[in-house]
């Protein structure tokens, strides 16, 4: 909301602060200022001048030479404007002065434009007469200004006086961010009340008295509210003998500062009262209202209605309409109808000030696709008490501005109105809650200033109805805190019993995952939780793959963000592809992020959110690089049992011969593999890429940070090397399993040191060599110990078809 400070000062006349003081103090008391604009920025040495004579320029057809009385002297000004005549009073910027912009009305330069005496085609010119654009404004706000040429004042301004003052531009427009709970502050009076309380100055709202004729409004109109749930109050008043004319300058200035274009007295009054009271109003031409009747009811599904902007609108049964005896004449709270709109020939006007259900207005305006100033205010939910004050204010202005005669009394239909809220006054509790020591007397001062009634005998507060946000103790504490000053409240730390700060075990495991991944050269990425359903095809998932059972967002930003991811593959592959396409070399990434798995679709319970530790890379490295990271990680979190890698992982998106499930203690905890070249193609990567996904919940349940020291061996170790000829289809994992199972207690360690396929090895076989180390904790091993263990191992190996080489 934007408001001219001069308008605020109309109700807080004693306010005397700089723009910056105002900005800071209002922000600190809870009416946040977003910024402010001085309307007289860069307007220097500009006075009202009167043109004494005009002659042609001897050397230029389009220029004229004016002698202009600027009060203290007469100056000669050469101009190209052709709309001035002798006797006109015009704004004149004197030599050395400054204007805000050029006459074309383009963007205003930061420093304005300096005006200096000079010559135009040889004739001296000692200043400049200004257009409204050069003064930083435009015809929207000064409709009386000519389309092109110099602004011409009315006769009432004094020659030599400050022209900026005469235009009402010595003013500052503040922009406020009003929070949704403060409906009352979406009005000039509401803000002025806060200003008065903030600066502790008197608040003087307008005194509303309506001079009305002897007729009765009820003789002109009857009102029936059929759908009371959507309209809690409907006030109607009548004005006759309407005389459409421009509104006075002061009203035009206030509207224009707020960004509302002045139109005529009638329209301007409804807008003015909307801004002043925060109560939108509507005016109907009574002659178009048939049956002298207003009926407030819901529309019917499928109805269409032409609003006063000439557009046809589609309605439904949740849109509230204002109707007469025969037809719909307005969409309640949003926009009036073309069929009842005010024209220049209007004779009798029906004013409407009503209170509509805010949520309904918001939803209706969204469905219809029409949001107006009025609907924007209504949707916040207004105080019904305000409607009466506002409609009377409008009638007062009609009468005062000579725009029409006010018919006596108001037609007022309303449901029982909300009573004032009473809240116990608990100064001690407030201090205890805020951590302050504010006297009761000070609290009373603050509260009274914002029109809360304080009964210190009964210790009871009565809150005005326009403060719909004041409902309980904490709300009162906030009012006290605001006007005492948040900045004056002390800063302390919570007392109370000490608590142990810590991370959950899961978070500690994730921390470890990050450390190990980074140690292994992987950098952390992060990707969105939602993605496109097209990724399933990109990943070559089978039609019945469980990963396709994704949770769908009912109102996504678009198809690309429409399902909750069931795997982190697409995020990782997309990130790798981004890097690949930007020609980044050797990229290693990891991500820790959730997937969302539904037990049943459509969702009835919250889904299983599973943290996935995803590693991916291309460039330097291979399958075993990832395997290394997995093992480093698991060792670091105390998972020291033997990992098994099952090549029958069945992942369509991985290379069929280069993939494996990772199993720990008989359970699958993740998988890894080379990305299938077809999938790489789908992501526009012509390189080998590798990916591993570990399921963190499975891992967290097995991890431990407990460690036990087992003693460093004191007795010597003995090693034996074996060399084998192994059928190709036997995995070294199977050999290791045999060594582990059969090596006995004295087996310490084994290591693959050679693997070879080729010329010297017979077809269908490979040569594999291991070094096996034995050691006992309590003695030096004897030859018999080793021979025994080796024999067991060798027998086991032979049993699965492995030949020993000599």
């Amino acid at each position: 909301m934007n408001t001219a400070l001069s308008w605020i000062k109309a109700y807080v006349p004693e306010l005397d602060v700089t723009d910056h003081e105002y900005f800071d103090a209002m922000t600190l008391s809870g009416t946040k200022c977003e910024g402010f604009t001085r309307l007289d920025k860069n307007l220097e040495k500009i006075v009202v001048g009167q043109i004494l004579s005009i002659e042609r320029h001897p050397d230029a057809d389009k220029l004229i030479i004016c002698q202009v009385n600027v009060g203290t002297e007469t100056v000669q000004i050469v101009t190209g404007a052709n709309n001035v005549k002798v006797g006109d009073k015009v704004p004149v910027v004197l030599d050395g002065g400054r204007v805000a912009g050029g006459h074309d009305g383009g963007p205003l330069p930061e420093e304005g434009i300096k005006i200096k005496a000079g010559k135009l085609r040889g004739i001296p010119s000692n200043g400049m007469m200004c257009s409204i654009e050069e003064l930083g404004s435009d015809r929207n706000f000064y409709p009386e200004a000519p389309e092109e040429g110099i602004y011409i004042f009315g006769d009432d301004v004094e020659v030599g006086s400050d022209a900026v003052e005469a235009l009402g531009l010595h003013d500052t427009v503040f922009e406020y961010e009003v929070t949704s709970n403060r409906v009352d502050c979406f009005s000039v009076l509401g803000i002025a009340r806060e200003v008065a309380a903030t600066f502790r100055k008197p608040f003087i709202p307008p005194v509303v008295t309506v001079k009305e004729n002897n007729e009765k409004a009820a003789d002109y109109i009857s009102v029936k509210v059929q759908d009371e749930d959507l309209c809690s109050r409907y006030c109607a008043r009548i004005c006759t003998n309407i005389k459409i004319a421009p509104s006075p300058k002061w009203m035009q200035r206030r509207l224009s500062a707020q960004g509302i274009r002045p139109i005529n007295n009638l329209v301007d009054i409804t807008n003015y009262v909307m801004l002043e009271y925060g109560q939108p109003m509507h005016a109907y031409d009574l002659d178009t209202v048939s049956g002298n009747q207003i009926i407030v009811r819901r529309a019917k599904d499928g109805d269409t209605f032409r609003t006063l902007d000439g557009q046809d609108r589609n309605l439904d049964s949740e849109v509230l309409m204002i109707c007469d005896a025969e037809k719909e004449i307005g969409i309640a709270g949003i926009m009036g109808g073309e069929n009842s709109m005010i024209t220049d020939h209007v004779n009798t006007v029906l004013f409407e000030a009503a209170t509509f259900n805010g949520a309904n207005i918001r939803k209706a305006s969204k469905r219809i696709g029409l949001r107006t100033d009025a609907s924007g205010i209504f949707e916040k939910g207004l105080d019904p008490h305000n409607a009466e004050e506002a409609i009377n204010r409008a009638c007062q202005l009609m009468q005062e501005l000579g725009a029409g005669d006010v018919v006596g009394s108001m037609v007022d239909v309303h449901a029982p109105m909300k009573e004032e809220v009473q809240i116990p006054f608990e100064p001690e509790r407030i201090n205890k809650f805020l951590g302050t020591d504010i006297s009761q007397a000070d609290m009373v001062t603050y509260l009274k200033k914002i029109e809360i009634k304080v009964d210190e005998d009964k210790m009871m507060l009565t809150c005005p109805t326009f403060r719909q946000d004041l409902l309980s103790f904490a709300d009162i504490a906030e009012e006290v805190a605001r006007f005492y000053g948040y900045d004056k409240i002390p800063t302390t730390l919570p007392s109370g019993a000490a608590t142990a700060g810590k991370l959950t075990f899961k978070l500690r495991i994730e921390q470890k995952a990050r450390e190990i991944a980074e140690f292994c050269g992987f950098s952390q990425g992060t990707t969105y939780s939602f993605e496109s359903p097209k990724v399933f095809d990109k990943l070559l998932l089978a039609e019945d793959d469980k990963l396709r059972q994704a949770i769908t967002i009912s109102n996504p930003l678009g198809e690309d963000f429409s399902i909750m991811r069931t795997s982190t593959l697409n995020g990782m592959l997309t990130s790798l592809a981004t890097n690949y396409n930007r020609r980044n070399k050797d990229v290693r990434l990891y991500e820790l992020g959730n997937v969302y798995l539904a037990d049943k679709l459509p969702l009835t319970e919250l889904p299983d959110e599973r943290m996935q530790f995803t590693l991916g890379f291309y460039g330097d490295g291979d399958f075993y690089t990832l395997k290394g990271v997995i093992e480093e990680f698991l060792e670091s979190i105390g998972m020291k049992k033997r990992l098994e890698y099952d090549p029958k992982a069945g992942k369509n998106f991985l290379h069929p011969g280069r993939q494996a499930n990772v199993c720990y203690d008989g359970e699958i905890i993740g998988y890894l593999g080379e990305v299938h070249p077809a999938v790489c193609d789908n992501y526009d990567m012509s390189t080998r890429a590798y990916i591993a996904v570990l399921d963190m919940p499975m891992i967290v349940s097995q991890a431990t940070f407990d460690r036990k020291y087992t003693g460093i061996a004191r007795f010597p170790a003995v090693s034996r090397d074996i060399s084998m000829t192994v059928p190709k289809n036997i995995l070294v994992g199977e050999i290791e399993k045999v060594i582990e199972q059969r090596g006995g207690k004295i087996l310490e360690h084994y290591q693959l040191f050679d693997i070879y396929e080729g010329d010297q090895i017979k077809e269908g076989f490979k040569s594999v060599a291991y070094s096996i180390t034995f050691r006992a904790q309590d003695r030096t091993l004897e030859e018999a110990d080793i021979t025994g263990a080796m024999k067991k191992i060798l027998n086991g190996l032979e049993a699965i078809g492995i030949e020993l080489r000599q």
């Binding site: 949707e379 906030e478 948040y486 919570p494 952390q524 109102n555 909750m564």
Partner: protein, 338 residues
């Protein structure tokens, strides 16, 4: 036979003319070894008169010691010269490239989050998590956001169905923590949240918040101010000043927004703080009594405060990142800078 003097003289000459360790060794063998000249002298003692033997023996030993001493000195000198020469020959170019392990880099969001966690864990907060797909009740209703509140409008919230949605804030973690019924509470709940904002330099439909809450007896607004001022000093530097402005959140009352003095210009006003000298950092307030009550805590006995920080906001400010999209692209050239 040579006299001892002659032997000595000869040995010293040979030592002096030796130019390698091997030659010195030869001298040692020739003169002091088992078949060396001095040994030969000792062997010839049997020809010496018994009464003279001790004297001759002493003379031989003296000669031996003298030769050994000179020999040792020569050896040390020669070894030192050799080491010197070796060191000289081993000079390397210390400006050749380093052999790095190529450690990976942490995401700037995580670095900022860990910083925040460190500060609050130090103040006794327990870090926890809540579900990202959440029930309407926890995200809105239990936080005093009634059914018709504008924040519930579709334009802000992603819905799965009428009861289940993508949480728009980490505040539901407050409710879940309070419902556990364990008091006092000091918790920090970071996590992903979702809002229906189109992607641009300052918006993302998926971002992170950090929720904090304290509930105990006698918790005051002053405690809230003190805690968050301490947080700001630890995060942005000792000299950081804070400003609390009244604001409105449905689940806190009184509510505030906290600004910190611009850590680039110290509050004088610069491009970074848009000339204001202050930067908005977080929203906070006293837990609304209605919220306490709905979660089964008696607001007459207990009070609390809560705050919510936008993690990306901190990340972007702290590392001067000017486009939020960079955080989700995962370009290695970006990540490597952290």
């Amino acid at each position: 036979m040579k006299t001892l003097e002659e032997i000595k003289k000869e040995a010293l000459e040979q030592i002096a003319s030796s130019d390698a360790l091997e030659k010195l060794n030869e001298v040692r063998v020739n003169f002091l070894g088992k078949k060396g000249e001095l040994t030969a002298v000792l062997k010839s003692m049997k020809d010496v008169a018994p009464e003279d033997r001790p004297k001759v023996g002493q003379m031989v030993n003296e000669t031996r010691e003298e030769i050994e001493k000179v020999l040792e000195e020569a050896k040390n000198k020669m070894e030192a010269a050799l080491r010197e020469a070796k060191l000289k020959s081993e000079v390397i170019d210390v400006t050749l490239p380093a052999k790095k392990n190529n450690v990976g880099h942490r995401h700037p969001n995580t670095i900022a989050l860990e910083e925040v966690e460190r500060i609050f864990v130090g103040m006794g907060y327990e870090v926890m998590e809540g579900p990202e797909i959440e029930k309407d009740y926890y995200n809105f209703e239990a936080l005093n956001i009634p059914a018709d509140h504008p924040a519930k409008d579709e334009q802000d919230t992603f819905y799965i169905n009428s009861d289940i949605l993508l949480r728009t804030q980490t505040s539901p973690c407050q409710v879940r923590e309070m419902e556990k019924g364990k008091l006092p509470i000091r918790m920090l709940a970071p996590g992903r949240v979702f809002r229906a904002d189109e992607v641009d330099a300052t918006h993302s439909p998926c971002f992170n918040q950090i929720e904090g809450m304290v509930v105990d007896k006698n918790i005051t607004f002053a405690d809230l101010k003190g805690t968050l001022a301490e947080f700001a000093r630890q995060l942005f530097g000792e000299d950081t000043k804070v400003k609390f402005r009244p604001h409105h959140f449905p689940f806190t009352e009184p509510s505030a927004e906290m600004d910190v003095s611009c850590f680039k210009c110290g509050g004088k006003g610069c491009r970074f703080c848009k000339g204001e000298g202050w930067i908005e950092i977080l929203g906070c307030g006293m837990v609304h009594p209605k919220v306490l009550k709905m979660s089964g805590i008696d607001p007459q006995e207990y009070s609390g405060f809560a705050f919510g920080v936008g993690l990306e906001r901190i990340t972007l400010l702290k590392y001067e990142i000017d486009d939020m999209r960079l955080l989700y692209e995962n370009d290695i050239r970006f990540l490597k800078q952290f």
